[in-house]
Symmetry: C2
Amino acid sequence: MLLPLIEARSQETTKSTAERLGYPRDAKLLIVHADDLGMTHSVNVATIKAFESGLVNSGSIMVPCPWLSEIATYARANPQADLGLHLTLTSEWTQFRWGPVSSRDRVASLLDKDGYFRLTESEAAASADPKQVELEIVAQIEKARALGIQPTHLDSHMGTLYQSKALFEVFLRVARAQKLPVRVAKAWFARADFLPSVLSPDDVYIDRVLDINPTVAANDWANFYSDAIKKLEPGVTEIIIHLAYDDAEMQGATANHPAWGAAWRQRDFEYFTSDAFRKLLQEQNIKLITWRELGKLIK
Amino acid sequence: MLLPLIEARSQETTKSTAERLGYPRDAKLLIVHADDLGMTHSVNVATIKAFESGLVNSGSIMVPCPWLSEIATYARANPQADLGLHLTLTSEWTQFRWGPVSSRDRVASLLDKDGYFRLTESEAAASADPKQVELEIVAQIEKARALGIQPTHLDSHMGTLYQSKALFEVFLRVARAQKLPVRVAKAWFARADFLPSVLSPDDVYIDRVLDINPTVAANDWANFYSDAIKKLEPGVTEIIIHLAYDDAEMQGATANHPAWGAAWRQRDFEYFTSDAFRKLLQEQNIKLITWRELGKLIK
């Protein structure tokens, strides 16, 4: 019984994710994904506004953050929305902090001396006990479900859960148990060589992830994204964006950190709700898909 | 040795708090106190701005709230500021929540099913185990000190710690151990008859507390406060105010709750930083004092 099964799987893995979804191999499929929901009111309101434009079609929620209840209210009222969980093990701003969902004394390895998550993904990964990571991310998923959020996918805030094989194994084990797809891109295999060894053909992953970075000047913002979309390769791409308004709350939250700051997020909001972006998607024959479709591939 | 001590105390208690502070018995002494620091960026920024006016001269900090770090930064840079702790056992807004500083499994009686503090002071008081209350409020004080806040006084968000004799005893025991004065007004003795029996002559308390309430119409705001200040009785009065800007963050945080909402707090900000208020203090010969002075009476 074993050999035929292996053969079947082997055949299946020759199919691209686009083909597994029922699209031609050369289809350009795009998820326009807003991170950091729940972080602030500004992020929630701007992202919900962008969802309403139909151009941003997916997002993920930070369960430990103070504005979780607001986005949970949205999720309950919009069960069709493609909302995942942005599993959170860092608290990266200095004037505005958050900590774990689980009891602090059970996840001490994840916390700084003030009881918050650590500032950076590398500090977080260096000190995290994988068992405590599992406890905390399961608690985040359970809390989201208790609030009526039905997550369609999982990803990792600041990529903490991709920092080591041990952490990624925890992440994948939890995701498989929950039958949820995880943000993993084939394009990452080169720089995180543990990925292909840990993934199985049954896991669902996309081809690549696109995001802007702090080397792009503010006045090149639209050009950067438009160029990237014009050059989009066939297969499943996720473009990861960060939406908020450049308002007092967001300026305060991200004070002294222009990267991923308030103005940055306002620029993302403007581009991804623009007619220029809508037109480009049509011109380039790009089809928007969601993690909900990808999740249906999971057996 | 016992009798003379008792006599000395008895003589001392005939002195009013104003006299113990070195003022004449008929002096009108006022603390202008802003609650809820740390709650939001809007509260922090508006209150700091009001402190700079010199007319608002005291405030208290909510340690469990997400913007604690921002106000702790201010406290470290302004060690002369009269900042106390607004000990917090409720999380009263529905879209924006917070929970305990201590490990959740040690303070389960304080939490709702989602792991946040309860919405109302009566629910909080009804279910709180006094031992867990003590653990949590001590943790809040210790966390504040660890962040470089040197509190000058303690009070209780939404008055939860005055809801029963058992809770007030915990509050007073912790305050005495910390040698910090507690917001208690002689005028409260009639409606909380356990207060005089629990307090000792060594405890420092003020004569009365003034605050506005939801029956006052928005366009009567300034009149209400100006009338109250014109009628101010001799002794120590604390006027409790809530400062923030009527901005998107604050509107989101207090959504569907006009009482103590964003516009309410903007009105408080406008009155208590106004020239009209400054002039009235002078005209009425009212002297602003702080909890720091009151704290010096504690042996």
